[in-house]
């Protein structure tokens, strides 16, 4: 179920004094089963872009195709689109409302018309996926820890069984332990459940470890695109648009500049370790 965006532009408050162009002529394809990291600083347009992927925003101009179907053409039900493309918003735990965890997680599938008999299974599966104990089902979500609340919110989206999952800053505000748990959950959903993942983030370290392809946005446009190696070669440019490269990649770049024989195209700590070991063994 590829997502294809063609010449997409979006203007907030179009035709009004506060008019603001948020996206300008964006063209992008996301293939089935891909893991894409979408990066950019606040105001770069990344959240606005992903809100088009399931029809939450309607483009000012341009088209969005999901499985080859223009989602804003006549006769297309946005509800069925949202069932395919699930969205986990920033701080999703702020949207919890149910009296129990069960009620909260079951809300999405119930609205989709999943029969009551099946709901319990859906909820159990979703909670198991995010690694929450089923005994929490009857608890109030508001009694849980911050990290657990966020997992309940993610389970609520997973219970709709979307093929594509968009996560907007899913680790923001979590501590290192919570962050690692959420990131390994996302990796699991990609590798084991074969979901297409779009991870929106401003943390280079987080996306570098997971994404196969990075898409970098600045002032409403896609400015860089490619594998992490390719994107991180532009360290100075990334700095200039308020981003950076992982610290260990920067180390290799500095060493190379100083004349050391290293390949700077590594971004995980393990790969950089090997590169430095190779260097030290020749010294």
């Amino acid at each position: 179920m590829p997502i294809r965006v063609e010449n997409l532009s979006y203007t907030y408050n179009a035709g009004q004094p506060m008019e603001q162009e948020a996206l300008r002529n964006v063209t992008l394809t996301i293939e089935d089963g891909e893991f894409v990291g979408l990066i950019g600083h606040t105001g770069s347009g990344k959240s606005t872009l992903v809100q088009h992927f399931n029809g939450l925003l309607k483009p000012t101009s341009g088209k969005i195709y999901i499985d080859g179907v223009d989602i804003f053409s006549k006769g297309v039900s946005l509800r069925s689109i949202r069932q395919k493309v699930g969205m986990v918003f920033q701080y999703p735990e702020y949207q919890l409302f149910g009296e129990t965890v069960f009620e909260d997680v079951a809300f999405g599938p119930k609205n989709m018309g999943v029969p009551d008999a099946e709901l319990n299974d859906r909820v159990d599966q979703a909670l198991a996926l995010v690694g929450l104990d089923l005994s929490l089902k009857e608890r109030s979500p508001f009694e849980l820890s911050g990290g657990q609340k966020r997992k309940v919110a993610i389970a609520g989206v997973l219970a709709m069984q979307p093929q594509t999952l968009i996560l907007d800053e899913p680790t923001a505000g979590l501590d290192p332990k919570g962050r690692d748990e959420v990131l390994s959950l996302v990796a699991h959903l990609h590798q084991r459940e074969h979901k297409t993942i779009i991870l929106v983030s401003h943390s280079m370290e987080d996306v570098a470890r997971l994404a196969q392809r990075l898409v970098v946005m600045a002032h409403g446009e896609i400015v860089l695109e490619g594998t992490p190696e390719v994107v991180f070669r532009q360290a100075e440019y990334l700095e200039a648009i308020g981003l950076g490269v992982p610290q260990v990649t920067r180390l290799l770049q500095v060493l190379k500049k100083q004349g050391f024989a290293v390949d700077p195209d590594h971004y995980t700590i393990e790969a950089v370790e090997e590169e430095i070991v190779k260097l030290l063994e020749t010294m």
Binding site: T42, G173, P246, V248, L251, L255, L280, M283
Partner: protein
């Protein structure tokens, strides 16, 4: 010299009911000196926010004592004196701003302290200059970026002329640009305005800027020292599920591969480059 903030055998429980007793702080002894910059690390639930809230009497100990400039925080008559001396900045920039313009927001604290109007103007001007937000004085706070909002919140503290500012994960909700803005402001407060800083954070690149790092776990202080001392204990930090800077972690891995000429307390890229230059 006496400490600006002193914890003596402090324990704290959120529930006084013995059966459900949950000790959020246990046997804390801690001195924070005037002018110091202290970073507090620990994962969620380790007690670091509870510790911070004792520093300006938002919470008072279940047992033990906290003194701010020698004043016992349980002395209710002197509560406002304590709150003026120790200001707090929280994580969510949207929950801290109250007024319709930036300057009104910054003036809110000193107004409540009964500071005369001409003096308030002077303080607002100064505070906005310190955080680099003078150009935005007539803006509405909701039009600002997250980093700018946090700087306005900090200006609101400074306008009360505190001796210490306690910041509870002030950058957790910000992007890299916002983080840098806030951290530059924090460092300036400490170095130029000589304000004592207590920074609660998960970000190691922020903690390495401090004079001293304190690590908390299950309501206790489990490590304390300079950033270099604390971050050299990579394994202990990993056990506590805390991060170390990537570069420190790399140095540690290289040591394990037998390159023990590499020190275990490298904190920056420059230090690592210098070490590697001395090889061979």
């Amino acid at each position: 010299m006496d400490a600006l903030i002193r914890f003596v055998d402090v324990s704290f429980s959120y529930s006084s009911d013995a059966e459900h007793e949950l000790e959020a702080l246990a046997d804390i002894n801690l001195d924070i000196d005037d002018g110091e910059f202290v970073a507090v690390l620990g994962h969620n639930g380790s007690g670091k926010s509870t510790l911070a809230k004792h520093m300006n009497a938002l919470l008072v100990p279940t047992s033990g004592k906290v003194y701010v400039a020698g004043i016992d925080t349980q002395n209710a008559e002197r509560l406002w004196e304590i709150r003026q001396m120790v200001g707090m900045v929280f994580q969510n920039p949207d929950n801290q701003l109250v007024a319709t313009t930036v300057e009104e927001d910054v003036a809110f604290g000193p107004e409540n302290l009964g500071v005369p109007t001409p003096e308030i103007h002077r303080r607002v001007d100064e505070a906005l200059a310190v955080v680099g937000m003078s150009d935005y004085r007539l803006h509405s706070p909701h039009q600002l970026s997250g980093g700018q909002k946090q700087r306005v919140a900090i200006a609101g503290m400074i306008a009360m002329r505190p001796r210490c500012v306690v910041l509870d994960e002030p950058t957790a909700m910000l992007d890299p640009v916002g983080r840098r803005e806030v951290m530059q402001t924090v460092i300036k407060l400490n170095r130029e305005e000589k304000i004592t800083i207590v920074l609660i954070t998960h970000a190691m690149e922020e903690a390495i800027l401090a004079d001293r790092v304190i690590v908390m776990e299950e309501g206790r202080i489990v490590m304390t020292g300079t950033p270099r001392e604390v971050f050299s204990k990579v394994e202990t930090l990993a056990k506590l599920r805390l991060d170390v800077p990537e570069i420190t972690s790399l140095a540690n891995r290289l040591r394990q591969r037998g390159f023990d000429q590499i020190p275990n307390n490298i904190l920056t890229i420059e230090e690592m480059v210098n070490v590697l230059c001395q090889f061979g």
